[in-house]
């Protein structure tokens, strides 16, 4: 599996690199990005919610026509392909995304100062910068890559992706620790304000509330660690599965379902193979919240007068009211408890909260640079009564308004809320039924092997199902319509896994 491990291209020849750097900087002053990612994604998400995945991908492509595809494009594309059960395509997109993440991780380890707010590249408008991805998105990318591998029956590769999440989390933790110190020191030196609570009119409660503050950090999720536990368990490595479940419990405390995973681990591993499949249902709901640019007026004291400059900051806006069912019904008899495990919504809020000091520091530095130019124009204009200069000053102010908008880029096709259910069920055909606000929905699955992961995604009018791959390949499964008791997911075709997805544990 060389893809996952290969990170190259970033460290190519020095000349080419310098040229790129120069081109980028030239571009900064000229082509200010007028892109509003929130507006751009609107149609894509709408199509997705209506079940038109192909159309959704077309819209996404039309918004990313350039040769250079960024991390965000691959994030979204991979998720849309996954929703359509196109696992190999999805994996290809996400591997491209992972190459960016790996390069970032490499920089974070070898040259972290490049990623800290003081770095030169950080002094340009955030949205013009190459998209680096939020920390939680990078971890979720690897988590979903692992889910793709599980769906394709490649458990060993899933283990590689899972192991990468551990390493990535350690790198992020170290970098953020450095960042907090640096932002604090830099802000103090410049006398800049970095507390968003001092930003007049900022909706503080959206990112500063008990639920957000209860998270340990913005990037560790109980889902990633629970999945790690599940993967290690399926590969017969209980000593690695244990910390996975243990961390999931720490990150999402007081959930009996999560506690059971740890307490019952030994028993499950040593249980004889009684023809039962250990099935993990991952239930995602809604879409990740949007970032929207809002302007706040920031007075900059200069040469004894005040220059008021509009400064844009990102604000977190929920886009859906995600619904999670309380339980999942299996074949009209068995009820599986559904336990919330991870809220991307909260993680995104926490990420913004943790990023705000850096965003504010960078905004203050940029605004001050603009303020200098503006002041000088105004000043000369007043002194010489030069109409042309005064107009130039006005144009500059207007220019600031237009160009100064906050970075709205964030991975939108991630679910807003994620829950899990787990059960040991017999091999064979099963009907899974969910209660949703739009009515009852059900899907038929044919499961085999000893472990399986079934990912369900609830959107406003849609239920997407991502079962193990073979079921899809032979059936061409369609998302089910709201309210309608849906057609069997595969039109009755066999959906068995062709091979067992893991090395079997010996019954002890």
């Amino acid at each position: 599996m060389p893809d996952l491990l290969s990170v190259s291209r970033h460290y190519a020849g020095g000349w080419r690199c310098a040229l790129h750097a120069f081109g980028l900087v030239l571009c900064l002053s000229g082509c200010a990005a007028f892109r509003s990612y929130d507006n751009e994604m609107h149609k894509t998400l709408d199509q997705t919610s209506s079940g038109n995945l192909d159309r959704a991908i077309e819209v996404l492509e039309s918004n990313n026509r350039g040769d250079f595809k960024d991390l965000l494009y691959y994030f979204e594309l991979g998720m849309l392909q996954r929703l359509g059960d196109r696992y190999p395509d999805s994996q290809k997109s996400w591997m491209s995304a992972n190459a960016y993440v790996q390069a970032w991780e490499h920089t974070a380890q070898t040259n972290p100062s490049k990623l800290l707010p003081g770095a030169a590249s950080y002094l340009i408008n955030d949205k013009v910068r190459t998209y680096e991805g939020h920390d939680y998105e990078k971890v979720m990318l690897l988590t979903y890559i692992a889910l793709n591998f599980l769906a394709m029956g490649e458990y060993e590769n899933a283990r590689v992706a899972i192991k990468q999440t551990h390493e990535l989390e350690a790198v992020i933790a170290e970098l953020r620790r450095k960042e907090i110190v640096e932002v604090e020191q830099d802000a103090q030196k410049r006398g800049a304000r970095t507390s968003f609570k001092e930003l007049n009119g900022y909706p503080v409660q959206t990112i500063d509330n008990p639920a957000v503050n209860a998270l340990k950090n913005s990037y560790q999720s109980a889902l990633s660690h629970y999945l790690a536990g599940f993967v290690y368990e399926s590969l017969g490595e209980p000593s690695l599965a244990a910390p996975g479940y243990r961390l999931a419990n720490e990150l999402q405390p007081n959930q009996p379902l999560l506690e059971e995973a740890l307490s019952g681990l030994e028993q499950r591993v040593s249980a004889p193979d009684a023809g039962l499949i250990d099935v993990l249902f991952v239930i995602g709901s809604g879409m990740a919240p949007a970032l929207q640019s809002r302007q706040f007026r920031l007075p900059i004291p200069a040469y004894g007068t005040l220059v008021i400059l509009p400064v844009a900051f990102p604000v977190m806006v929920p886009t859906s009211t995600p619904y999670l069912p309380g339980q999942l019904k299996l074949d009209d008899e068995q009820l599986l408890t559904v336990a919330p495990i991870t809220s991307i919504d909260l993680m995104a809020r926490r990420a913004l909260k943790d990023d705000m000091p850096g965003i504010m520091l960078r905004a203050a530095i940029r605004t001050t640079a603009k303020g200098v130019a503006q002041y000088q124009l105004q000043h000369q204009g007043q002194k010489q009564d030069n109409a042309a200069l005064a107009i130039a000053a006005l144009a500059m102010t207007l220019g600031s308004v237009v160009t100064e908008s906050a970075d709205e880029r964030t991975w939108r096709t991630l679910p807003s809320e994620i829950a899990i259910a787990r059960g040991r069920i017999p091999v064979g055909k099963h009907t899974i039924t969910l209660q949703t606000p739009e009515g009852v929905r059900s899907v038929q699955l044919n499961l085999s092997g000893r472990y399986a992961v079934v990912d369900l995604r609830l959107l406003q009018r849609q239920l997407y199902v991502q079962p193990p791959e073979v079921a899809v390949r032979e059936g061409g499964q369609q998302p089910t319509d709201a309210g309608v008791a849906p057609a069997p997911s595969t039109g009755g075709g066999p959906e068995t896994l062709k091979q067992q997805p893991h090395t079997m544990e010996t019954p002890k």
Partner: protein, 197 residues
């Protein structure tokens, strides 16, 4: 808030940025290191910890009476339970211990639970008609272990503003399968402290 006079030079920013970015593109170098050197990049479980534990456990076990007086005792390796919140591959530790013991020539190992499936499959496969009956591995000839090795690793992690302290305790036991007696047990403790700054 921000003193403008200090930030005049920011007008030259694009130039600075270009230079800085170009400088950041310097070529990297990768070299081989000493695989047995002390690794203290972070205070998470490290290669040095793994090697120290394996070495100390092996040397201690070689002095146990079960091994000294036994005639090439047969041991099977069981799980070392990971009771920490860290992803420590304890099988990598027991694998190291097993190879060191095997190399010492004082212990033999019987197939363990994790490898049983492959073992059984191979024996089954040799029962097939394509194999020379004289030389195939017959069923019912595997030798059971006299001792089983198991253990656990715990950690205590304490973190304050500028200090992170982690303590590991690795415990390994050698049990007599026939009579259930504990023949040998030893511990290795490791403490690591990281201070910030």
């Amino acid at each position: 808030m921000i003193d403008l006079s200090r930030t005049r030079r920011l007008a030259l920013l694009p130039l600075f940025a270009a230079v800085a970015l170009a400088a950041g593109c310097a070529q990297e170098q990768t070299r081989y290191g000493d695989q047995r050197s002390i690794e203290t990049v972070t205070n998470q479980f490290s290669s040095t910890d793994l090697q120290m534990i394996a070495e100390s456990m092996t040397r201690s076990m070689l002095q146990s009476s079960a091994i000294v007086s036994g005639n090439l005792p047969i041991v099977t390796v069981q799980e070392v339970k990971n009771k920490t919140s860290e992803y420590i591959d304890t099988r990598a530790v027991t694998d190291s211990i097993r190879s060191e013991l095997q190399k010492s020539g004082k212990v033999r190992f019987a197939v363990d639970a994790a490898a049983m499936q492959q073992q059984v499959e191979e024996v089954e496969r040799q029962q097939g008609e394509y194999y020379d009956k004289e030389q195939t591995a017959e069923k019912g000839r595997m030798v059971g272990a006299q001792y089983r090795m198991e253990g656990n690793i715990i950690s205590i992690v304490k973190q304050a503003k500028d200090i992170r302290d982690v303590y590991y305790k690795f415990n390994l036991q050698l049990w007599n399968v026939r009579n259930g007696l504990l023949e040998w047990s030893d511990e290795k403790e490791i403490r690591k402290t990281t201070t910030k700054g």
